[in-house]
Structures are given as C-alpha cells and as structure tokens.
Symmetry: C2
Subunit: 257 residues, 2 copies
Amino acid sequence: MLTISIAIQKGGSGKTTTALNLAAALQRSGQKVLLIDLDPQANLTQSMGIADDSSFSIYELLKQAASGETLETEKAIINTGIIPLIPANLELASAELELVSMYGREQLLKQLLGQLPEEYDVVVVDCPPAVGMLTVNALTASDYILMPLQAEFLPFKGVQRFMKNVQLIKKQLNKKLEVLGLVLTKYDEHKSMHRQIRRQLEDLYPGLVMDTGIRSNIALAKAQEQFKDIFTFDNSANGAKDYRSLAEEVTARLSAV
Amino acid sequence: MLTISIAIQKGGSGKTTTALNLAAALQRSGQKVLLIDLDPQANLTQSMGIADDSSFSIYELLKQAASGETLETEKAIINTGIIPLIPANLELASAELELVSMYGREQLLKQLLGQLPEEYDVVVVDCPPAVGMLTVNALTASDYILMPLQAEFLPFKGVQRFMKNVQLIKKQLNKKLEVLGLVLTKYDEHKSMHRQIRRQLEDLYPGLVMDTGIRSNIALAKAQEQFKDIFTFDNSANGAKDYRSLAEEVTARLSAV
Ligand SMILES: Nc1ncnc2c1ncn2[C@@H]1O[C@H](COP(=O)(O)OP(=O)(O)OP(=O)(O)O)[C@@H](O)[C@H]1O
Ligand SMILES: Nc1ncnc2c1ncn2[C@@H]1O[C@H](COP(=O)(O)OP(=O)(O)OP(=O)(O)O)[C@@H](O)[C@H]1O
Ligand SMILES: [Mg+2]
Ligand SMILES: [Mg+2]
C-alpha cells in the first residue's frame, strides 16, 4: 500500500482538485484507492457531495488514535460512488491545537493507516494550506508527497520554503518520505510567465517537475459543483486528458522505484 | 484610522494581491496607508521585494505585546518605496502555537495598532488561509473585513463557513467589526459558472458583493515578480483599472457609514 500526500502550503494550488482527479484516474486504471480529507475546510468532502459535518470523520479517528482507543477506521470510510473517502468535518479546525500536546502527535495518521479494513493499493491524502499538525501527520505517514502549484511568482517562492519543511520532516519524522514530484496546475503555455517559471523550477529541482501540466480548464471547477470527478463529468475535457496523463506519469514514477 | 483585514480561509482567493493593490490605489487617492503582513508565508512581504527573514517583523512585535514589553512598532515599519510595511518573517509560523496560551492572545494586534508612530488613515492587514490565532487577531483589531474569493464552487462553500466564523468573532471579540464586502477575483464574466456563482452570492449576501470584480489578468502576477504594485507595473492593465475601481467603491462604502 502506497500513501501519497497532496500537499503545499500555498493556497489555491490545486491540491483538492488534484487529490480527487488523480485518485479517480488511478482507480480507473485498476488501482484500489482510498481518499482521506485532512483539511478543516473539508473541500474534498464537499466536492464529493458528502456532508462536511458528519459525526464520524478523520477528526474523530485522530482523537481515538491520540487517546489510545480502539480505532474504528471502517466506520469512518464512506462509499461515495466515486472513491471511498474518510471525510473531514468542521471540528478538524480545532485539531491543530488539540493534538499539539498529545504523545506521538505526529504519528496519529500513520497509526490509522496501519488499521485499514481492506487492502488498498494507494491512499491519497488532501492537505490544508498550512504546515501545521495535520500536514505533518500526513507527511509522517506518507511514502510520497506530490506538490501542485501554479507557475507564478508567489507559488514559486512558496515551494522553495515548503521544500525545506519537507526535508526537515523527512529527516526528523519519516526517512522513507520521497518527493514524487511537482505538478504545475492552471498551466497556460501561452503565458510567458508560466513557461519561464516552469524552466526555473526545472533548473532548481531537476527531475522533479512532472512533464504533465494541468491546463486551466473550467470543467474541473464545474465537475466539483456536480460532485463528480472530471472523467465522469466530461471525459473529453482537457482536465480529464491532463489528469489521466498525470496518473500515467505518477504510476511510471512509482514503478521506477 | 481605519483598519481593514483582507481575509478568507480559502487558499488562493487573491488576498495578498488585493492587500497590495487596494492599498496602493488608496494611497494614490491621497490616503496615508500602512500594510501589515500577518501571513507566515510572507507573500505580501516577498511581493514587495522585502526579505522574508528579517530580524524584526510582525512576529517580534506580537511577542513583545504578548510579554508586556515596550512595543517597538516604529522599528518594524519598512519604507518599501510603495507603501510602508510591517513585514512577516518565517518565525511567524510558530506564532499560532506560541500565542495560544498567552493572556489576551486575541488582542495583541489591537495593542500594536494602538501604538503606531504616525497618523495613518488606513491600515490594511493581509491574512493567512486559515482561521487561526493570526486571523483572529486581525479581525479583533479591525473595523472592517474585506473577503476576496473566486466565483467557483469550493470558494462559494468556503465563504459560507467563513462568514459564520466572522460573526462569532464579532460577537465574542469585536462588536464593531463590519463586513465591508466580498470582492470576486480572477473573475471572467464569459464563464457561465462565474456569473451564476456571482448571482448566488448576491442572493445569499444582499448588498455585500462589490460591484467591482477583479478580472483575471496575468499582469497582476507579473507585477509581483517585479516587486511592483499593478499601477507602477502597468497603469493601463485591466488589473490596474479593476483595483482602482475597487478602491473607489471601498472609499464610497467607508464614507457612507
Ligand atoms: N487546472 C484548473 N483549471 C481551472 N480551475 C482549477 C484548476 N485546478 C483547480 N481549479 C479551481 O481552482 C480553485 C482552487 O483549487 P483547489 O481548491 O483544488 O486548490 P487547493 O490548493 O486545494 O486550495 P486550498 O489551498 O484552499 O486547499 C477551485 O475552484 C478549483 O475548481
Ligand atoms: N485577478 C487576478 N488575475 C490573475 N492572477 C491573479 C489575480 N489575483 C491573484 N492572482 C495570482 O494568483 C495567485 C494567488 O493569489 P494570492 O497569492 O493573492 O492569493 P491569496 O488568497 O493571498 O493566497 P493564500 O491563500 O496562499 O494567501 C498569485 O500568483 C497571484 O499573482
Ligand atoms: Mg484544498
Ligand atoms: Mg496570501
């Protein structure tokens, strides 16, 4: 079972959109996938048409792990019709503070993933725009991190700082963590700025920038409003082509290891 | 002196871009403006060409306030060449946790604003994509909150939840806080989804949606790369027209009170 965190602290980088559509593409290619919404905004949960105020979510599971109780992971998994999901709820906003003073506070998600009821091939974790206790839990539990970002100046500054955080977490909490790659989102190759920032990223992080760029495509936002992944919404849309291509590239990188 | 927070938890909503360019437009219309970067990402600071690892930033000021020391606000203000700025630095990331157990922890920014060396007409505060101790400090200290957001499904879900947080903070911490408005960013009136979400917001929050929508304009991102506000970068760009229009609308709303 491989665990991939979709994480970067820069807001609006396409984390949630990538978590859902990469997971859907992997599932369509035959993988057994589980999604986890680790963001107090609960956007992934909302985009799958699931209530963001359920009584048993990732928050309740983390609290069980923190207090050493039996982990009821099966109870938390919702069969959404697209992909199984452990949802977030609004209470998760208080998790950052509540977890801070608990023993083994960075290992809670890792514990949960050790107690899943089924054999999943891939677990995909959607993270919040912050490097707090939730993202740290995700990276401590993950084999890989995939970082989406727009090819613009502020995201470019942000990824450089985030990379340092990732290296620190790898060193202190999870030596097996690898950067799967950086994927450019809302990419427009007609914009000179996007091409230039792409090149700068390729120079700065050789081999890490995915060949696949996710082009700007309103179908990706429209699909979320209808609680669909992009393939179900419009399999011929650019967004579908790009996320299919991303899934192939991710699979190739995973097999190359 | 009026204090306006640019805040919403949804990432990539255009907070930092709005903080800088609204402030620049207000200054050009004759107001004496101060900018405060309250985001550990320090994007506003970076977009003004200021070091994001200075030794005396908003973080050090907040710590002085928390420990009851003399507040050296003057020392923190940088004359950037565009607008005076109290910068953020990387340490601010630990502020969320450090401030949590301090007395009067939500009032720290308010204390600082009571100790500014000069008479500013407007203070504009850029907030992080989170409703944590930093955003709570901003809203406790502010007269107004302006919420930028994209006219898409996930931001639409996000603003509804954020509004509840704002009302709670108003009730418990700052009865004078008013919502100045919601401003649509990266708006494309050719996209039916954007028009539809705009209408839904106008129905849900009558009178709150600003008439001015900030159109999608790469010049806004390019200006940040050159450490310029949009007016200095390209005064004829759509981004300049839209932020000028936003500033006029904001000024009109402030005078109407
Ligand atoms: N390639 C794309 N083309 C067009 N719209 C996109 C694309 N990717 C994402 N979006 C839209 O941009 C908005 C932000 O994307 P998303 O929520 O996935 O980013 P995020 O990084 O998860 O944000 P946050 O930091 O708040 O968690 C959403 O409305 C989404 O539908
Ligand atoms: N109207 C616009 N047209 C084109 N690009 C824009 C526009 N507004 C913002 N951007 C760009 O979108 C990206 C995100 O904007 P910005 O950083 O201002 O959002 P934010 O809400 O402050 O993000 P965060 O949640 O990370 O603080 C930046 O690269 C910025 O230059
Ligand atoms: Mg998200
Ligand atoms: Mg910002």
